[in-house]
């Protein structure tokens, strides 16, 4: 066999491997149908409290817009952050890695010719696809019923493309940040408190709790230097047209840099962690 043939066949066999992992994890996910349906429905509960809370805030302030957000725009924003979070949140990823390190299941990835991060990424894609396949029904319904909150209607095509990119990178960024956190378990076996701190920061700094542009200018500037905004605020703001055309591509560029940084970080941590693991533990 020539090298060219073998390398092309290895590429196609790699694609096949990924496809098989994807297919198998899809099957696995569908085992838990009930958990799934319930989890999806529960996602809509918090937004109802938000609608009431912001209704009260607007009534008390007497203004019909705060920092350019009308009451309707705020509701639209929260609905959109739900979509952002459906992409960027990674339930169980970090604790899952920590558990595997703790109980030694990580050995599997040392013994078999398979890459831990690649494997986890594909299974996560499968989880998400399963989730969307089911969640699309209630999401569509809710968005249809709440279409009145979106005062500007659908954004133009370029913005939609940018929105798609922002969501996709948000998914990857969320994955690699949490994977890096999980890999800390090679050094400290217990990462629960770390995850707690991360979730807390994420909640405030990603725009999940309130639109980031409501922050005072100095705080806003600082938050913009962090990667969190790409997990919730940024895609939502893109969709709502709150980000200017030239700022849009710059923002996506910065997001790509963060993504690259965390890809490299997680890779380095995995290599060092395995080295350490095989040196001390096992």
């Amino acid at each position: 066999m020539t090298t060219a043939v073998s390398s092309s066949s290895s590429l196609s066999s790699r694609a096949k491997t990924w496809w098989t992992i994807l297919r198998i994890s899809l099957e696995e996910r569908f085992v838990y149908r009930g958990d799934f349906a319930l989890g999806t429905l529960m996602r809509f509960l918090p937004i109802i409290t938000q609608v009431f809370l912001w209704g009260a805030i607007f009534a008390a302030s007497g203004n019909n817009a705060i920092q350019g957000y009308t009451a309707n725009a705020v509701v639209a924003y929260y609905m959109l952050t739900m979509i952002s979070r459906a992409f960027s949140s990674m339930p169980g990823l970090c604790s899952g890695i920590a558990l595997q390190v703790r109980d030694g299941e990580i050995k599997k990835y040392l013994i078999q010719p398979i890459d831990l991060l690649g494997f986890l990424l594909i299974t996560r894609v499968a989880h998400k696809l399963c989730y969307y396949a089911i969640a699309i029904i209630p999401f569509t319904l809710v968005f249809y019923l709440c279409r009145g909150f979106f005062e500007n209607g659908w954004p133009e095509a370029t913005v939609l493309v940018a929105y798609g990119l922002a969501l996709t990178m948000g998914f990857l960024l969320g994955f690699f940040i949490e994977a890096s956190l999980g890999l800390v378990s090679f050094w400290f076996l217990e990462v629960t408190s770390l995850v707690f701190v991360y979730n807390l920061l994420n909640f405030f700094l990603s725009g999940h709790m309130f639109p980031l542009d409501l922050l005072p200018e100095w705080a806003n500037q600082m938050v913009r230097l962090l990667p969190f905004q790409y997990l919730a605020y940024f895609p939502a703001a893109v969709f709502l047209g709150r980000i200017e055309q030239d700022e849009l591509w710059f923002g996506l560029g910065v997001e790509a840099c963060w993504l690259l940084a965390f890809v490299v970080l997680s890779r380095v941590m995995l290599n060092r962690g395995i080295h350490r693991y095989s040196g001390f533990g096992g």
Partner: protein, 353 residues
């Protein structure tokens, strides 16, 4: 001299274990300053295994058997020494090496819990790049041999422990590894399942001529499967040779059972003591432990003096002989560390932040 398939030279592995004293105060102190103890799990193992051998590692818990298998499968790297398996250095974890061996741990699960084993097998097919025809052929063969056909489409969590172990073995053998490491493959299984797995391993190894290293606590596994036995205790090889050789080399005792025609009284028991020590007596039988060289003289004397109905001369049971070896090793190492001899640097208690 051509290199052996598996070659270990002075292989050593030291773990660092956090020494925590009892109590809350000690726990709080441990936040700032920790004492670590160095534990030498493997103290320098030299071993050559040729292609097609089926070797058993015997040893008490914590003897270093599993650590050795982990070193050879590249999960951990050694503190000192070297090892090659099929020309590869295991802890480099090259994909070329990882496609050529398999490790099965009796207490670890590699299959997807909620899915039928078949799905895990398909994943293995992709991971190891097995051609579809070869894959189907191998899977058919293995599931026929192990009687798994009907179980392939059942979720793994619904299988019994024995069935699951057979599935684990199948998964490990799908890519036809040339070297197989088995760590306690029959642990916790009932006698029938143990026997099935032994039969399978024996047949498979003879047919494929693969090289297998096995650790087990069950002497029956070892007796059924392995011509060569390596006894590891205290991180070192204590014996390397045939199973029957263990008895010849490590004990000079035989067991003699006598069945008397007349009732046994105290006087009789007393007079038997000069031939050897009484292991067990239950009228009309007495079992004596006798030095091997004394057996002929003793038999002549007894047959002359008493009326004997039946007589058995046998080797002591293997379990006992091996337990003796383990006990001797732990005794010597205890005495040596008490006297501060040779291995005084074994356990260093160091402090680290």
């Amino acid at each position: 001299m051509p290199m052996a398939l598996i070659e270990l030279n002075n292989l050593q592995k030291t773990y660092r274990v956090y020494q925590k004293k009892e109590g809350l105060r000690a726990s709080i102190k441990g936040l700032f300053k920790r004492k670590y103890k160095e534990v030498q799990a493997v103290r320098g193992i030299d071993l050559q295994v040729e292609q097609g051998e089926f070797v058993a590692f015997l040893g008490p818990n914590g003897a270093g058997k599993t650590t050795t298998l982990k070193l050879l499968s590249g999960v951990i790297h050694p503190t000192a020494g070297s090892a090659t398996v099929m020309g590869h250095i295991p802890w480099r974890r090259e994909n070329d090496y990882r496609r050529r061996f398999a490790l099965v741990m009796g207490q670890k699960n590699q299959l997807w819990w909620d899915l039928p084993a078949q799905e895990s097998f398909r994943l293995h097919q992709q991971i190891y790049g097995i051609e579809p025809d070869t894959f189907q052929h191998t899977l058919d063969e293995l599931s026929d041999l192990l009687g798994l056909r009907e179980l392939l489409s059942q979720p793994v969590r619904e299988l019994s422990l024995g069935e699951r172990m057979k599935m684990e073995l199948t998964a490990a053998l799908l890519h036809s590894p040339e070297v197989l490491f088995l760590d306690e493959p029959t642990i916790g299984l009932d006698v029938v399942a143990q026997h099935n797995i032994q039969q399978f391993l024996k047949y498979y190894q003879e047919k494929r001529k693969i090289t297998i290293l096995l650790t087990s606590h069950y002497m029956k596994d070892v007796a059924a499967l392995c011509k060569r036995v390596v006894i590891i205790a205290d991180g070192q090889i204590q014996y390397d040779g045939s199973l029957s050789g263990i008895i010849d080399e490590t004990t000079n005792r035989k067991l003699v059972t006598l069945q008397f025609a007349d009732p046994i009284d105290k006087r009789l028991l007393g007079s038997l003591k000069r031939f050897g020590h009484i292991v067990h007596h239950e009228a009309p039988r007495v079992k004596l432990g006798v030095t091997r060289d004394d057996v002929p003289a003793m038999l002549t004397a007894i047959l002359d003096a008493y009326d004997i109905d039946d007589l058995i001369v046998e080797e002591p049971p293997l379990e006992e002989v091996i337990a003796d070896v383990f006990a001797r090793v732990s005794e010597t190492s205890a005495t040596q560390s008490e006297l501060g001899l040779s291995r005084s640097n074994d356990t260093q208690v160091g402090e680290a932040e």
